[in-house]
Symmetry: C2
Amino acid sequence: MSSPDTKRTGRRPGATDTREQIAAAARSLFAEVGYERASFRRIAAAAGVDPALVVHFYGSKEDLFREVMATPQEYAVGLDRLADGPRETIGRRLAELLVGGLELPDPRTIVLGRIRAAASHPEAAALVRETITRDLHRLAAAVSDDQPEKRAVFVGTQFVGLAVARYIVRVEPLASMNVSDVIDVVAPTFQHYLTEPLTPPAP
Amino acid sequence: MSSPDTKRTGRRPGATDTREQIAAAARSLFAEVGYERASFRRIAAAAGVDPALVVHFYGSKEDLFREVMATPQEYAVGLDRLADGPRETIGRRLAELLVGGLELPDPRTIVLGRIRAAASHPEAAALVRETITRDLHRLAAAVSDDQPEKRAVFVGTQFVGLAVARYIVRVEPLASMNVSDVIDVVAPTFQHYLTEPLTPPAP
């Protein structure tokens, strides 16, 4: 198995390259065919390595999924930084981060892969649950003392529904909208979920 | 094959019973295992009939899916009636209809079946696109002249995300919330999407 990268980088392909090659292949397959059908054999074939290497690096499929579908570090950091800005624009800034992020190939692959996997496989659903909760809950808790868990989850519902409709089901006119127009529409929703009362005022 | 219904209803099992039996089995299987894995053979086995009968009644799997996963008539009618009420409570009344509907086994099976199928199968995604667009677009157009297609789709995104998070991924605290509390949280979102400006006021 030759690596085209050796020439470019001038170093021999090492364990890190192979590991990342497997991760990229796994990420794409989870997103395209779902958790169940992304077998070690298929992932290995897509990465151009022996299936035994996938097992060697990642152990179980659950561990592999958990690692390659984790929220990218820059997003986790970006989410945490949002809380430092003004509270009255938190909805818009969160929409820019989340909706804007979906325009980038890697984060989009991860988000859609998580959703497809969760829709078809209870084990993957548990992993999705963990990450969604953890990522958004820190932000919600930094913004509001009132029921931050609920706030985080409702932001998550709007985000997941948007990703499904725009990139999986491809509903028009949403699928063709500019990202800035999508941000305009959902920013007030995120603002509502993060900062406004969750129950209507008594009549 | 004996039908336990003959005794109860006092009539012989006819084509209508068999057809409905197949529809119910197909609906459950689409929701549980997705579009692709719900084969005619499996559907026939679950309905206790010969696979040839499924073909006889429904022709193609696409037609079967389209028919058994259609919006129940009472919902289509309910949606149309919403537009007759006061515009300032349309979000809440829509939330009551949609979120309340998900608590009932049949509508829930249909909604989750559509989502699972759309997540795994492009053909099913097209069918979901059609129905979502048609059902909600009539309502949005009755409520607002300004970009009703966009409004309908954004209502759809929040509804789909809610169904995924509450019933498929089962994220807490959402999964255990009372339906009336869920309605309280999403009603302002539906109101925003249906009646408020979709772009922020110029600064």
